[in-house]
């Protein structure tokens, strides 16, 4: 990846590769997550993805994307660790396949959507604002209608700390939104958020640099991006709520005092792989394969949050067995009561996954973004070396602080009442 500083706070990163048929360009805006007015950033995604001044109707947007051979242009929001990230993601066929200069068209398209949103026509802007609110309402309802995602959001809310700020907005937040504040948030995004531009594809670096300078005259900005955050919670809590669903959902959140920058990060990753991230993991093998208690169960180590999340769906009658089995598997990892064979298999799987990530444009971009923030200059080969060095003892040491803090169960109605268990 070649890195260029355009101005203070605005950086360009180019990965030249012949692998992909298209050119992927992402313009990434990021700021520290404060949990204030987050709904506006979700709103900006909808507002800015829909149309812009140059392509001011959905039809015109559709036309230009098809003119560029079914190009993709999306605006996405992500919350990772203590960062709020807005990504303008574009993918356009490499012009060499159709003997056209599609790269400059791609830059113009991105610039039109990022720099000329519909705020600059008050009537059209307000019209789009009303539609944006409707979409935000529908999106939150869709999350609530999916029991597994609802349970996940509730567990984060109950945990508190930074995780609570990862929760999506509420319907009340949407109702209170104002057009003026949305515009103010847009201005803040353009003027003060950190900007990273990523280009992945078979491109000429000098041409890309020229295009960036011509299309994006971003001003200097002071940035201090902090990605990782160690979530904390003093007491442990169990909450049961009920809904008319066909299956109960369990989400457990554990603190672990480890993040991606921790020195024993590799041990934590492999330990979690043994615990619950893979089909060979103890959770999958014991809860699903040996006891047939669920279809899916996993433990996800949130590497920027210092959290392990365990989630599964099951018949509520089996709740005690499932919780007991999860606790037993965690104890096995803490005690080092797993085979060398499982340890080696887990290492193999992660080494494979690291190498495979180099075949995905999205992974290449995220890895570069992460590296630029946490100043992680380790190569894939160095990471693989760290993984290979993980031992049973280092996993025990890394896992010693893993502590259950939140248990949230969404129960099939009729089986229990809303209450603190």
């Amino acid at each position: 990846m070649l890195d260029y500083k355009i101005v203070e706070g605005v950086n360009l990163h180019i990965a030249k590769t012949p692998k992909f048929k298209d050119v992927n360009i992402e313009v990434v805006f990021s700021k520290q997550l404060d949990g204030v007015d987050d709904v506006y950033y979700y709103g900006l995604c909808q507002f800015m993805e829909d149309s812009c001044m140059l392509y001011d109707t959905k039809q015109k947007v559709s036309d230009i994307l098809d003119e560029l051979y079914g190009a993709k242009l999306n605006v996405k929001i992500e919350k990772r660790g203590q960062l709020l990230i807005l990504r303008f993601v574009s993918s356009v066929m490499n012009g060499k396949f159709v003997h056209k200069d599609l790269l400059s068209e791609q830059f113009k398209l991105l610039a039109a959507f990022i720099l000329q949103p519909k705020f600059y026509d008050d009537s059209k802007g307000r019209h789009l604002f009303a539609e944006m609110k409707e979409i935000l309402r529908l999106n939150i309802q869709a999350i609530n209608d999916n029991p597994a995602s609802y349970a996940s959001v509730r567990a984060n809310e109950i945990f508190g700390d930074m995780l609570q700020k990862h929760c999506i907005y509420s319907l009340e937040d949407v109702e209170k939104m104002s057009y003026e504040l949305l515009y103010q948030k847009y201005q803040e995004m353009i003027q003060s958020m950190a900007i990273d531009i990523f280009i992945v594809g078979d491109v000429d670096e000098r041409c890309c640099l020229k295009q960036v300078k011509e299309n994006f005259a971003f001003t200097e900005r002071k940035t201090n991006k902090q990605l990782v955050y160690l979530n904390e919670r003093e007491d442990a809590i169990e909450i049961c709520e009920s809904r008319k669903v066909t299956q109960s959902n369990l989400v457990q959140l554990y603190t672990c005092q480890k993040v991606s920058t921790s020195k024993d990060y590799a041990s934590m990753i492999i330990g979690n792989g043994i615990f619950g991230m893979l089909p060979t993991s103890l959770l999958f093998q014991e809860v699903r394969e040996k006891n047939s208690l669920c279809y899916s169960i996993y433990a996800d180590f949130k590497i920027y949050d210092g959290i392990i999340k365990v989630a599964t769906s099951f018949d509520i009658k089996q709740r005690d067995r499932i919780e007991m089995l999860i606790a037993e598997q965690l104890k096995k990892v803490k005690d080092g009561a797993f085979s060398e064979e499982l340890l080696n298999t887990t290492k193999q799987m992660y080494i494979n996954n690291y190498r495979q990530s180099e075949d995905s444009a999205a992974s290449i971009i995220w890895n570069a973004f992460r590296e630029s923030i946490i100043h992680d200059e380790r190569t894939t080969e160095q990471i693989i070396k760290d993984i290979a060095a993980v031992s049973k003892q280092s996993i025990q040491e890394a896992f010693k602080d893993v502590t259950l803090k939140v248990t949230y169960i969404l129960v099939q109605e009729g089986e229990s009442h809303d209450q603190t268990c």
Binding site: T17, E67, G70, N144, P147, I351, N352, N353, Q356
Partner: protein, 430 residues
């Protein structure tokens, strides 16, 4: 092996066939680290009743193809998943209405061992009564999971409403009763009838030398014995033109009600190419009219005729054809009336030259994008191969569609067989 080179896309693949009938395709992707291998059989949940050339009909419980996938994947003699993991490979499997696929991907520079493992575990079935019984609880939980998702539930309920007898009315995994009724003997019978090399496809996309891999595959197959291949066809009872249930009302714990208008279309030809072309024609007509390509689309959203989450889809398969329009709205009646009005308007308009050209541009790009991921190449190639063409021929087929083709197809569509499915809020939500 036969080498196929496409200069436009800068892609190369090799095609060969083992002596036992197994068809092998290897895409050479020298710039990639990842190899992806897919071993697939065109046997899915719709094939629960099959007929041989003598007219014998074999009936199985619904969901048996999916059950077989679960069991085959978990051999009683060894843990297949663990074996693959030891080799640094991600392995998985899935069953759809028409296919069962087993696949792994890995960045290992040598894939001889996992490739042989894939061939060996799919080509042998060793199950016990106990392991079959154990699997039933897992599958039942999987089915329950999908039942509580309103977006997948409304599609499943639409198929159920349209068809009297066609197996599309069954969920891919079957239901609680059919899963618990499935026996070890039935699973073994299904396996031996369908998992014959003559009926299977191995598709690989890899940076590794294709000639070497073909030798590994061929040598592996030479070591195995298979019985004679007895071709089976999907057996279908005569399906009335009418829909099974014109109105279906379901209560779920949802905040926003969902509605689907499903239309059962006639199956007019046995010619697979014609069906495929018709499917693309109808897709392009619907995509052009019921999307932002249509200037009225914004007006429909503004006037709340549809919500921004509206979508439509169509299918023109071997033995069934349908269209479906889905939205989130509390006024199902108004939504249905609006869609039917638009479908009627399309009789005159259908599609113009400019829109058709735009659709072709769009799909040229979407086909090109398949080549960005080795996993996409294998599954897309398999699906096209079952239809008798490759990815490039599919593009030619799309390119060959004319406005006249579109007009002719749409004028002859009988849109009168409709079902309306509503997922409504429970009366008392928590």
């Amino acid at each position: 092996m036969i080498k196929h080179v496409n200069d436009t896309f800068e892609e190369t693949y090799y095609e060969g066939r083992c002596d036992n009938g197994l068809r092998v395709v290897i895409w050479h992707k020298p710039d990639y680290h990842t190899s992806s291998c897919l071993f697939a059989v065109p046997y899915g949940s719709l094939d629960l009743k099959q007929i041989d050339q003598k007219g014998n009909v074999i009936c199985m419980p619904s969901g048996i193809a999916h059950f077989l996938e679960h069991k085959l994947f978990e051999s009683d003699h060894s843990d297949v998943m663990e074996e693959f993991s030891k080799l640094g490979c991600n392995v998985n499997a899935f069953t759809s209405y028409t296919e069962t696929c087993y696949y792994f991907d890995t960045s290992a520079p040598d894939i001889d061992d996992p490739l042989e493992l894939l061939l060996d575990f799919v080509q042998s079935l060793n199950i016990s009564e106990a392991s079959v019984e154990k699997e039933k609880g897992i599958i039942d939980q999987e089915l329950q999971m999908y039942l509580q998702m309103p977006d997948s539930r409304i599609v499943f309920e639409s198929f159920k409403a349209l068809y009297h007898h066609h197996p599309l009315r069954n969920d891919i995994g079957g239901d609680h009763d059919s899963v618990y009724a499935t026996t070890k003997q039935q699973l073994e019978a299904c396996y031996h009838m369908n998992y014959h090399p003559c009926n299977m496809f191995l598709i690989i996309a890899t940076p590794i030398d294709p000639e070497h891999l073909f030798k590994v595959i061929n040598d592996n197959q030479k070591r195995k014995q298979f019985g004679d291949f007895i071709p089976l066809a999907r057996y279908l009872e005569i399906e009335p033109k009418t829909v099974y249930k014109p109105n279906v009302h379901i209560k779920m714990d949802v905040e926003m009600p969902r509605v689907a208008l499903a239309i059962k279309l006639a199956v007019n030809t046995d010619d697979i190419m014609k069906k495929l072309k018709d499917e693309w024609i109808l897709r392009m007509i619907l995509e052009t009219h019921f999307s932002s390509m249509n200037a009225d689309f914004q007006k429909w959203i503004d006037e709340k005729k549809i919500s921004p989450l509206f979508y439509c889809d169509n299918e023109n398969a071997k033995d069934h054809a349908l269209m479906i329009f889905v939205d989130e709205t509390a006024d199902a009646q108004a939504f249905v009336a609006f869609i039917l009005e638009q479908l009627q308007l399309l009789r005159d308009k259908t599609i113009d030259e400019q829109s058709l050209a735009q659709m072709k541009n769009r799909h040229f790009g979407s086909v090109m994008r398949i080549f960005n991921r080795v996993e996409n190449i294998t599954i897309q190639h398999f699906r096209n191969m079952v239809n008798g063409l490759d990815i490039f021929e599919l593009l030619k087929l799309i390119e060959s569609i004319s406005v006249e083709d579109c007009y002719a197809l749409y004028q002859n569509l009988d849109l009168s067989h409709q079902a309306v499915i509503v997922i409504d809020k429970n009366d008392e939500n928590c």
